[in-house]
Amino acid sequence: MEKRVQLPLTEELAKTLKAGDTVLLTGYIYTSRDAGHKRMCETLAKGEPLPFDPTDATIYYVGPTPAKPGQVIGSAGPTTSGRMDAYAPTMMSVGARGMIGKGARLPEVVEAMKKYSGVYFGAIGGAGALLAKQIKSSELVAYEDLGAEALRKLYVEDMPLVVIIDCEGNNLYEFGPANYLAQKGN
């Protein structure tokens, strides 16, 4: 069953999403990875505002390839989310509820997701050419000096994702393989 999800990711909307749901996401999202997260958390620690409004925002952990002439963006698949675990609870505490990436998260992140109604979406790792097709616009917001890691605002249409961890802490990485093996055993 495929759900169409229209951003922003309000608390109400977040609560309707369950781990294992296949979704098509539409709306504005922001890109950031290692260096960008470090800078954002330093900014917050100093008590300064972020370069974008984090309320109900969704952050895509991605460092795209440079756009070819005529392209909106280069190949743009997810990077390993675990490297952002140190920063994710802080980002959720200021309202950034959605995360798009790939790979396992630490228990601290899952706890913060339960507290702030966060949702962790998985995009297909290694499908950068396919995912770029769902990105309809890309605008530089800040941190241009970080190159592929700059903070960008993207408009995505029907971006194919899977809910990996929902706001109750259910985790597809845990029950997906277990369910598959159980079903095989029958």
């Binding site: 294992g20 296949t22 991605v62 460092g63 795209p64 390839t65 440079p66 756009a67 070819k68 392209q71 280069g74 190949s75 743009a76 698949g77 990077t79 390993t80 675990g82 790939k102 790979g103 396992a104 998985g122 297909i124 790792g125 290694g126 499908a127 950068g128 050419a129 396919l130 770029a132 097709k133 190159g147 592929a148 194919p160 899977v162 990996i164 597809l172 990485y173 029950f175 997906g176 393989p177 277990a178 369910n179 598959y180 093996l181 095989k184």
Partner: protein, 280 residues
């Protein structure tokens, strides 16, 4: 003695960097499509279809298959009767990488210092592996290596008494620990023997070897098949969401080793396992 000018090395490396990042090799595509035909997980089938669609888009539109266009691993098999003229070979390799990553719109993912970081801006230096071989040709292989999977690799110095079972357990343990992080379905390269460093090199060579080939020794060829099947019984599946296709290939490379040891290295690669070669 045959002369080869560095300019032809630069041009070849530029072209191979772009080709390798844009067009997935046939052996990898065939392995993915074979696994798709046998897959029985529900989310898993959809993911594999998207992976196939992704490399078809990359082929057709000449865009990178994955945004992690990797560190450029460059293997040079240099014939002993070749004389390289016109400049420094290492600089030529790096110049080829520099041009390939700039002109191919590939991502620059290399930092100049492992601790203090700072992007070099041109994806150099390349990781260069040279081997002197008989003859008067130079064979160049480029394998752009992503780090989502590289980070899940492991090396262990076994006591010989650990035996074959020790290696089998180590493979399973490493794949389990990697879980969803290396973008499964993965390719597993296993290097056994040699020294600490040679085992790791063997593992890297193993992921560069086409997936439709086997170790020449039937003992290890059978082990490749057995361990690939075992890994695919773990249920991790594409992207770690559950399914049969956890790995699309497992290659083993071996070397003699010391009486006191049994080094074993496992290099993990993803479904975007890239390698392109050319002989000059």
């Amino acid at each position: 003695m045959r002369e080869i000018h560095v300019n032809s090395i630069i041009d070849t490396i530029e072209k191979l960097c772009i080709d390798a990042n844009t067009h997935l090799p046939c052996d990898v595509k065939n392995a993915i499509e074979r696994c798709r035909a046998c897959e029985d997980g529900s989310i898993a089938c959809g993911i594999l279809d998207n992976i196939i669609e992704n490399y078809n888009i990359a082929d057709k539109e000449n865009v990178p298959i994955c945004q992690d266009t990797g560190m450029a691993c460059v293997f040079l098999e240099i014939g002993q009767d070749v004389h390289i003229v016109g400049g420094d070979l290492t600089e030529a390799v790096n110049e080829g990488v520099r041009r390939g990553y700039a002109n191919g719109y590939l991502r620059k993912s290399v930092v100049k210092d492992p601790v203090r970081r700072g992007n070099t801006g041109d994806n150099t230096p390349a990781m260069i592996y040279t081997e002197i071989v008989p003859g008067e040709n130079v064979k160049i292989t480029i394998g752009p290596k992503g780090f989502g999977s590289e980070n899940m690799s492991a090396v262990r110095m076994f006591k010989p008494s650990a035996g074959l079972q020790g290696i089998k357990d180590f493979i399973i343990e490493t794949v389990q620990a990697a879980g969803p992080n290396p973008c499964p379905p993965i390719v597993i390269g296993v290097g056994i023997g040699g020294t600490f460093d040679k085992a790791a090199l063997l593992a890297k060579k193993a992921i560069m070897r086409p997936l439709d080939t086997h170790h020449p020794d039937p003992y290890y060829a059978d082990l490749e098949t057995e361990m690939l099947n075992k890994v695919n019984e773990l249920g991790i599946g594409p992207q770690g969401f559950g399914g049969k296709t956890t790995a699309i290939g497992l290659n083993i490379e071996t070397l003699p080793t010391h009486i006191a040891g049994m080094p074993c290295a496992i290099n993990i690669n993803c479904h975007v396992t890239r390698h392109k070669s050319e002989v000059l």
